[in-house]
Symmetry: C2
Subunit: 548 residues, 2 copies
């Protein structure tokens, strides 16, 4: 692998460990825990791993003693996030510090590799190639869901064969839910295999009272903020375009909110607010059009609009329309298939309830067609295919046209569109993520040494310098509640949405009028690995405000 | 203006000047110059500024003496490029080093501000806010073409009023051509105003034997390479997508070539090669499909394809089709307007010559419709609206389908699309561009002090450390030839296309088979301002290979 100059120089970065786990550790057990909700149901489903105590590590006065060698397996699950390679190098260094004979095995291309027995041994030669780099390419990732007993049993075969006694699953909320189920199962059958989870996702929606942030969120949002900042500077130089910028994050708007706090755009839509206020698509369009008109009156025909990827699915009226469309096309699909192309729109309008027909009619023709024609293998409308940034700018343009006729707008509106997602998921981890991930991995090794299972690796106090972070473990069941998934009540880790009474959102809400009516753009610039600490080592605005 | 942490820290960066102009300078005149072609015509058009000598500056042994104060005007012309603010701060520091009473005036929103007398005085308070930052927002830019005598006369009024005796025009090839015309005119009428040009454009197409590169190309291509590298790492982690990545650069493919040399993608199309080899769109599609099929046979259904924005206009057959379409819709526009929407395609095919009809038929329906419907105010087809990245991936998908039927391909093809342009034009300038731009500006002040006009600021030996760069001035007429523009023969600076016998292209051509058949991705990472010199101070691969 030929390395870029930056990679070559960055390879020698030594992530800073929390001081508690940088030598011999003492395990401190807290009180028994309970799940965030539905305690009785969760307890019943996890008889062997429910109610375990929270664990914290303290620095022992003695020197670190060599323990027995231990073989560990690791799985990368789901979408990429910057820092995954550092979690793995942290686990590697952690188990080697227990005993040099310890071995680390990586299962290939996600949970599928665990079930199908595809793996490699991760030796120091390999690990050293990937320290402080982005991507999940060291072993690959995948989206196979690890949730059935036959998968668990199949996986156990390879664990036995390789003499692996602990498995680390690096993933998002669903993958960690599955890690808890697997831990419970292995405990129940006496398999003698510990399961430890690590909180990963750029979306930032795996967090709670005990997990301050998921890894990757810091780096990804910095990359997006870099390019949005650059676009804003262009926007403010040329003064002639409206940039509609869609950002990853289907199930929560943390990314859009964090970027907004970093770049101070003219508009940022937060899906959770749209849902909570029961806003219609029309309301969102009017909100943007009003900002455009206000700025035009000042002579400014330029601006930036941030849009979370999942917006459409948060709009209550659109959700209802989609639900009815799914039902309609399921029940009358055969009839619809016979309708001529240029009559399909009419047919759908005629067959929908009055409210939904009206909403369907208000959508631009292309989007409406997409909703009725492009369906997934289960026959469902594919909301994710809708280019929300274009849908909104098209509807805003139409609205501005109406406002012009009514004498309420007089300006030029030239929209440009962007979508940022893949640009940030595999970026080189920032100093924060490099340290955080390495600590999460090293700490996972400490949890393994402590003999626990069904825990998530937890590193906290993240707004302090990394050596002052606190390390420990949280029983995964503690984060669970019961939710309906595909019609079935299941124990799952609560997904963290943007809290409308949380400090990051309140900060945004208190500033957005000023940002809309003026040009307050910030230009964060590219992630720096060297240089002043206030540039290199700062973490997210979200963490900053949450801890302020 | 609230500053990001990076901006605050970066403000104190002191660009390194070439040692020759860092103190008192001696002006060394070379031999009289001639234009690159059409010497007689150019000489006739520029009787007062043709044949001037090239100028180099040498370090004088004496200390720098204070000269007379001088008032200078500056204009940013055309699209943004990283480093424009440093050119301006270089001019500012340069004229202040001549005499502290010198003043710098910035004309607002491009050449239009010069003609309309919109300006501000650029004082140190303002300048210091913009040192080492991206964007052109200090005075804005615009695309008004400065080419008519009444504009020149109108501009002269404000120059007189402000007692400005020198004007610096920061722009691309056309803007510098106009600077030469303006210089000639002011000389001819004895206006007593010098005109100096500075070579700006991220496209990299303003360069020649005496101008090694235009500013902004270094930074912009580094930003694009950063995000493409990140996408490649994602691509190589998920192993399931083909990323079609379009890059800015309509009239030349330098950006795509430079990015390819930095990131080593699976495919990069170079428009100049497509034209030189008289390739059809079908040839380009087949070339990509062959790479996809080859990789699929190895089990790899992922890859990256770089596409220059201007590709379509370089394909000879498409150029002919567009020319005929323009003629057809001009001559039979009224008839076409009456054709029903669903009959338009047929009508066009029936009215085109056989060859062009065949090409038109081969285009995806959406693109074909765009070609016939979306025309600019002059009635011309708007080639720039075509989403080339989607056009290609759609045609590749179709071709792969045919190859599958023929048993020549067996794989999955999931394309994703990106376009990078606005992300790089206003990025914070790299150390290279920060130094280069500051030197170009400071050097422009030296040229003003030397009393010359019709020169371009020239800083050379750019692969050496910046203190060793050579500074001087090149008569703009030296870079000119006669070209047909809008039907008229005009003296213009030759646009620099990618040379197919140049070392950067030859390096790419020698490696592309290996990059296509394997996965050799490089991950350059974000621009670094601090840290090891080999990371922070390296310039482009293009300059590296050109000087190797």
């Amino acid at each position: 692998m030929k390395k870029s100059a930056l990679q070559a120089a960055r390879a020698s970065y030594q992530p800073k460990l929390p001081v508690e786990i940088s030598g011999a550790v003492t395990v401190v057990e807290g009180k028994p825990t309970t799940s965030v909700a539905d305690q009785d149901e969760i307890k019943k489903l996890f008889p062997n791993t429910y109610g375990l105590p929270e664990i914290t590590f303290e620095r022992a006065s003695a020197d670190r003693k060599q323990g027995e060698p231990i073989n560990v397996g690791v799985i990368l699950s789901g979408g990429q996030a910057p820092g995954g390679h550092n979690v793995i190098s942290g686990i590697f260094d952690g188990i080697k510090s227990i005993n040099k004979q310890s071995r680390l095995y990586g299962f290939l291309m996600g949970p599928g590799g665990f079930v199908d027995h595809q793996y490699i041994e991760l030796t120091s030669d390999i690990i050293d190639q990937y320290r402080n780099t982005g991507g999940f390419d060291i072993i690959g990732s995948g989206r196979t869901k690890l949730e059935k007993k036959d998968q668990f049993d199949k996986g156990l075969e390879i664990l036995r064969k390789l003499n692996i006694s602990a498995l680390v699953i690096i993933g998002g909320d669903d993958s960690n839910t599955n890690a808890a189920v697997l831990a419970e199962y292995y405990k129940e059958i006496g398999a003698g295999v510990q399961v430890i989870g690590c909180p990963k996702t750029i979306d930032g929606d795996l967090k709670n009272n005990v997990i301050e942030t998921s890894f990757g969120f810091d780096t990804a949002t910095k990359v997006y903020s870099e390019v949005i900042g650059n676009i804003q500077r262009d926007c403010n130089s040329a003064k002639k375009y409206y940039h509609f910028i869609k950002l990853m994050g289907r199930s929560a708007s943390h990314i859009a909110l964090e970027c907004a706090l970093q770049v101070q755009p003219n508009v940022c839509i937060i899906s959770e607010e749209v849902e909570a206020k029961n806003m219609t698509l029309d309301d969102v369009v009017q909100q943007i059009a009003d900002v455009v008109a206000y700025r035009a009156a000042k002579g400014w025909n330029f601006g930036t609009i941030l849009i979370p990827e999942g917006l459409i699915e948060f709009i209550p009226a659109i959700k209802k329309l989609i639900a009815e469309l799914n039902d309609l096309l399921a029940s009358k699909g055969a009839e619809f298939a016979k309708v001529e192309a240029d009559k399909q729109r009419e047919w759908i309008i005629a067959n929908l309830s009055a409210d939904n027909a009206k909403i369907y009619e208000s959508l631009p023709a292309g989007v409406a067609r997409q909703l009725s024609l492009d369906r997934d293998p289960h026959g469902n409308v594919q909301v994710s295919l809708i280019e929300t940034e274009k849908l909104l700018s098209e509807m805003v343009a139409k609205r501005l046209g109406e406002m012009k006729v009514a004498g309420k707008y007089n300006g030029k509106f030239s929209p440009l569109h962007h979508f940022f997602g893949y640009e940030g998921r595999c970026a080189d981890p920032s100093n924060f993520d490099a340290d955080y991930c390495y600590a999460l991995g090293f700490n996972a090794a400490c949890l393994i040494e402590a003999g626990v299972t069904g825990y998530m690796s937890s590193v906290r106090n993240l707004t302090l310098p990394s050596v002052q972070w606190k390390a420990g473990g949280i029983p995964i069941t503690m984060m669970m509640n019961m939710e309906r998934r595909n019609g079935e009540l299941k124990p799952v880790i609560q997904k963290a949405l943007v809290k409308l009474d949380g400090k990051p959102f309140l900060e945004f809400a208190s500033k957005r009028k000023e940002w809309a009516e003026n040009t307050c753009y910030m230009y964060p610039g590219p992630i720096q690995f060297w240089g002043p600490a206030e540039v290199c080592d700062r973490t997210t605005m979200t963490l900053y405000y949450e801890n302020k």
